[in-house]
């Protein structure tokens, strides 16, 4: 593993909200093309960790490096780094006043300064990729939750990101729509995109993850390949968590 393939390096990250320690000394490296799935009980700090990676949360302590570049307080550099990290949110966060196509083209035009026709060509390519090109002229509110989330994925992909972050992308969806989103994510994983996914979908973790990270109380408890993690978890807390969610 040469260092040039290291996409994300998190060093001794701590994040406190007031007196609450959400992330407590996390170290993590993600290499190019890896799919990392982070699981854990709610409040375990997994979303906060993810949000620290693109600096949506400012870490209290520790360092984040993206491709050998340290994310610092410098806004200009931060914006440039962020534009190379796609993020998909639990609640989609599409721009409701813009059409699907405009949602996907806006950042390309004002951040990457592409022309309208270039941006639209790229947008249509990614909308087709997530199977929703026919809704390009619709507004987000006219789409189902699953469709909105697929648009959000296309919006992130249109940035041509080096890394994709997914923050519980299926948690706000009705059960019948979860599959369409997971299918898209699985396809992306198979294409070799570097992905960090916070999710409760154990099926997806099994199928797509190169490594599973189990977090509890702000710390990484266990890191293993899915076969090992799901079949022979090493830690007591991982076992307890798995037995709770897999008991039905």
């Amino acid at each position: 593993m040469s260092a040039t393939h290291e996409m994300i390096r998190v060093i001794n990250l701590r994040k406190k909200f007031g007196r609450l320690v959400a992330v407590d000394g996390v170290n993590l490296t993600v290499r190019k093309g890896q799919v990392i799935v982070i699981i854990g009980p709610s409040g375990s700090g997994k979303s906060t960790l993810l949000r620290c990676i693109n600096h949506l949360e400012v870490p209290t302590e520790g360092e984040i490096w993206i491709e050998q570049q340290k994310i610092t307080g410098s806004q200009r550099q931060l914006n440039a780094i962020r534009s190379q990290i796609g993020m998909v949110f639990q609640h989609f966060n599409l721009y409701p006043h813009l059409t699907v196509l405009e949602n996907v083209t806006l950042a390309q035009r004002i951040v990457r300064k592409l022309s309208k026709s270039q941006a639209e060509a790229i947008a249509m390519h990614h909308l087709e990729r997530v199977g929703i090109a026919d809704k390009a002229r619709s507004y987000p509110a006219q789409l189902s939750g699953g469709q909105q989330q697929r648009v959000a994925i296309a919006r992130a992909l249109a940035q041509d990101p080096k890394i994709m972050l997914f923050d519980e992308p299926t948690s706000a969806l009705d059960p019948e729509m979860i599959k369409e989103v997971l299918d898209v994510m699985l396809a992306l994983a198979n294409e070799g995109i570097t992905m960090v996914v916070v999710t409760h979908e154990m099926g997806f973790a099994r199928a797509a993850a190169d490594e599973v990270i189990f977090m509890d109380r702000g710390k990484i408890v266990e890191r293993a390949i899915p076969e090992v993690f799901f079949n022979q978890p090493a830690h007591e807390r991982s076992r307890a968590f798995l037995s709770q969610i897999l008991s039905h």
């Binding site: 914006n79 949110f89 950042a107």
Partner: protein, 295 residues
């Protein structure tokens, strides 16, 4: 014959005779206040058309409508700019900007508008002119005469009352509108800003392309209502002897002793303008709500 019967029957199906309760419901829900309002207009129009004294009052006072509308429009434009900037300042992360914005809003909100108009016209504007003169002196010492001369030439006594009135209204309403803009911006979910920043947009890009378009659409009805309020409050500038309709009506009444004619006409003129504007604001509100449902 048969055809006619069918038509009649159809008519009956389309609108069956109202039952007692339905009729009562209709009467209860009918907007009778509109009838009253229209009645007032009809009565005033009748007076103006049939009585010479009203006719005279009307044609005299009417001349002030232009000044009232002009004052309101210009002041409203400035208030919008001032309000938007202050509203953005109020939510700024910069402690100084945020505090200056809040101080401005709290000062204005705690002082009666009439007092503010006197204060700005007779204390604020002279102080402002004095400050600009000082800046002019400073520039002339630097040798930048082309900037210095227009500033030095400013004189407090040369600032017309209309300008003072417009400044006073703008500064006052700027504070109210700052609160509208602030509330509008804060009503947009945090996720919107996060999504935009996560895509690499700067704070101001996110504001301009994502937050403000949504926020402004949401506050359009409130801004419209403020315009109606401002139109009414512009009557206060008559204390500065600005010849708006209120001032002209006052002059007319004082000169002719026809108080009833003057003030009935004045009230009717204001009401006419505000009723039309309010109807426009209501329409706007419905549009915004409709968009919300469809969008």
């Amino acid at each position: 014959m048969a055809v006619k019967e069918t038509i009649e029957a159809k008519g009956q199906i389309a609108s069956p005779p109202l039952t007692g309760t339905e009729l009562r419901e209709k009467i209860r829900n009918f907007p009778w206040w509109i009838v009253g309002l229209v009645g007032f207009f009809v009565l005033t129009a009748h007076l103006v058309l049939t009585r010479a004294s009203y006719q005279e009052a009307f044609s005299f006072i009417r001349a002030g409508v232009g000044v009232t509308i002009q004052t309101t429009l210009i002041a409203y434009g400035f208030a919008l700019i001032l309000g938007l900037l202050t509203g953005l300042g109020r939510i700024s992360n910069n402690v100084i900007i945020q505090n200056v914005g809040t101080l401005y809003v709290e000062l204005i909100r705690g002082i009666p508008m009439l007092v503010l108009i006197f204060f700005i016209a007779f204390v604020g504007v002279p102080a402002g002119v004095g400050l600009l003169n000082r800046i002019g002196e400073w520039f002339s010492q630097l040798g930048l005469l082309f900037i210095a001369q227009p500033l030095l030439r400013l004189e407090n006594s040369a600032v017309p009352m209309t300008t003072r009135a417009i400044i006073a209204l703008s500064v006052t309403y700027g504070a109210f509108q700052a609160e509208i803009f602030r509330a509008g911006i804060q009503s947009i979910g945090r996720g919107q800003m996060e999504a935009a920043r996560a895509q690499g947009m700067s704070y101001w890009q996110a504001m301009r392309f994502i937050i403000l378009p949504q926020a402004i659409r949401n506050v359009l009805p409130a801004l419209g209502n403020d315009f109606v309020s401002m139109l009414k409050d512009s009557s206060l500038v008559s204390v500065l002897a600005v010849r708006d309709i209120t001032q002209i009506a006052k002059l007319y009444a004082g000169r002719s002793f026809q108080y009833q004619e003057a003030y009935v006409t004045l009230a009717a003129l204001y009401l006419m303008m505000t009723v039309v504007l309010s109807a426009f604001v209501k329409w706007l509100e419905r549009r915004v709500r409709q968009d919300e449902r469809n969008a």
